[in-house]
């Protein structure tokens, strides 16, 4: 029963990683850049929810909606100010800028909200489910995290495959110049990608802070990096890959913490990543890159 409980906790954490990883993978897939500030947008989302719930007494669900809107705008603004001028620059410059944006967000939060962690009240008010006379407990947060992540993966896949904007995103991801010559507005498409990624980060913030209710300026950093690992693990650029990678990383982390060593659980996560990359460098569902000779 202990194992089942751990597995459920792992899937719960993994679902949250999956939602974050989707943001990474989407931005990487379409804009071809690693947005290392992605994790910190989660933290911003968390604070927006926290303050609208505590200072303004707003309904939790509306607070989440406000956070999604705030983060979407933030995502678009970050892209416009920090990344757009570097569209033609080398990927290294963009990567360094992203790290800079990440520190900027963390330290702005430190300045605005202080260094003391705040106690986050869960936005989920679904009761836990007890099975087998209380031997297995599934919290409301777990249920919501799993359902939301599945909904997001399905919705996102449909959006990309079936809609005009989604097709434009795919076209830009494959060949920016050709897409532009077909009349696709690249700037608008990349903006949209960042908006969706940041909106997902806000939802991830709600789920993460509900399950692990302390919130401070570095809250998003470590989950952000783990979700990045999950995205690479599943094959960066692939939407289902991000989901699978997220769940696996969550399960590995929790099981590692329970059965091997709580201190080593992070190390185990990264060790697994290294192993996967040695065996399959493009990740589990990553596309093979064939070099033309």
């Amino acid at each position: 029963m202990g194992f089942l409980n751990n597995l459920i906790n792992g899937i719960s954490l993994g679902s949250i990683y999956a939602v974050i990883a989707l943001g990474y993978t989407l931005v990487y897939g379409i804009a071809k850049m690693l947005n290392f500030a992605h994790g910190d947008i989660i933290m911003v989302g968390g604070y927006v929810i926290f303050y609208s719930m505590t200072s303004f007494q707003i309904n939790p669900y509306i607070s989440v909606l406000l956070a999604v809107i705030a983060c979407t705008v933030l995502g678009i603004v970050i892209e416009k100010i920090a990344y757009k001028p570097l569209r033609q620059a080398t990927s290294l410059s963009v990567l360094i800028t992203a790290i800079g944006v990440s520190y900027f967000l963390q330290n702005s939060a430190l300045l605005l909200f202080g260094e003391k962690p705040v106690n986050f009240t869960s936005v989920v008010n679904i009761p836990s489910i007890s099975l087998f006379d209380g031997q297995i407990v599934i919290t409301g947060e777990t249920i919501v995290a799993i359902i939301i992540s599945i909904l997001i993966v399905v919705g996102l896949s449909l959006f990309i495959k079936k809609t005009k904007s989604g097709r434009a995103m795919l076209a830009v991801s494959e060949d920016k110049d050709a897409a532009q010559l077909m009349g696709i507005n690249i700037n608008r498409t990349i903006s949209l990608t960042f908006a969706i990624g940041a909106g997902l980060a806000a939802i991830a913030g709600a789920l993460l802070c509900s399950a692990y209710p302390t919130l401070q300026n570095t809250t998003g950093a470590m989950p952000g990096i783990k979700a990045f690992v999950a995205a690479v693990f599943g094959g960066i650029g692939s939407v289902p890959g991000a989901m699978i990678g997220g769940i696996l990383i969550g399960v590995i982390e929790i099981l590692g913490r329970a059965y091997i060593s709580p201190q080593l659980s992070d190390a185990i996560v990264f060790a697994v990543l290294i192993l996967v990359l040695i065996v399959k460098p493009t990740g589990l569902l990553g596309k093979k890159i064939r070099e033309k000779v």
Binding site: G155, K164, E174, M182, G183
Partner: protein, 252 residues
């Protein structure tokens, strides 16, 4: 007034004058050829016409509208579409979706309508599917609409590129070496397709080509580029007999 009026177009890359004083005038409905030895600057002219390169000097007028130095998107909206020398389809997308990308600017519904799957989303997507299938059937690709673009045979990929360009509803279609890598049968079929497109879509076509059977078979007029400069222009028959042109191609 000609559909495309290019005057004194020129561009330099560093010290290299890639194209110099290039002028051409193409009437609506014409099938016009741009020929010349390798490295003469033909694709560079295409890149300037489509806004990929900004010309250093000269004027490009499309249907009375000055499009010199405009962005690729603006030029596409003004009415120029092109294909590429090395095929640049969206290979991981289906044949149908490639054409639908071309239709992007001609069908409108908001992203929100797409996300929440409102009636207008379904309606518009259906209209786009219909239009795209119509275009594909012109090129006999309708039965392969669900294929990935990368899985099409070479000749079909060339055709799909033309279909995708036509989907943007241009006034002028630029074809960059459409017959490159084709066997004589495929080339003959392509000639029919290009003629069909011109006649049925009211299209004006400017093409770059090395295959002289195609050039002499379908082009009504030619311009010859050599070392970035216009060597001569005129009716296909006269140009191909011009001794200067023969020298440029074959040497003295």
């Amino acid at each position: 007034m000609a559909l495309l009026e290019v005057k004194n177009l020129g561009i330099s890359f560093g010290g290299l004058r890639a194209v110099d004083e290039f002028s051409v005038s193409i009437e609506k409905g014409e099938l016009y050829g741009l020929i010349g030895p390798n490295g003469a600057g033909k694709t560079t002219v295409f890149n300037m016409l489509t806004g990929v390169y900004k010309p250093s000097n000269g004027v490009i007028m499309l249907d009375g509208q000055n499009i010199t130095g405009k962005s690729t998107i603006e030029i596409n909206r003004a009415g120029i579409a092109r294909t590429f020398q090395n095929i640049r389809l969206f290979k991981a997308m289906s044949v149908l979706d490639n054409v639908k990308v071309g239709l992007h600017n001609h069908y409108k519904y908001s992203t929100a309508e797409g996300v929440f799957r409102m009636p207008r989303f379904f309606f518009t997507e259906k209209e786009m599917d219909k239009k795209a299938m119509e275009l594909l059937s012109v090129f006999e690709l309708d039965s392969k609409a669900d294929f990935l673009a990368s899985n099409l045979p070479y000749g079909d990929q060339r055709k799909l590129e033309i279909a995708r360009a036509l989907a943007t509803q241009p006034k002028l279609l630029l074809l960059d070496e459409p017959a490159a890598g084709m066997n004589p049968n495929e080339t003959a079929e392509l000639m029919n397709t290009i003629r069909f497109v011109r006649d049925n879509f009211d299209m004006t076509v400017l093409l770059i080509e090395h295959d002289m059977s195609l050039v002499s078979g379908i082009c009504e007029k030619l311009s010859v580029l050599n070392f970035g400069q216009l060597l001569c222009e005129g009716n296909t028959f006269d140009v191909l007999k011009n001794p200067e042109v023969i020298t440029a191609y074959l040497g003295d």
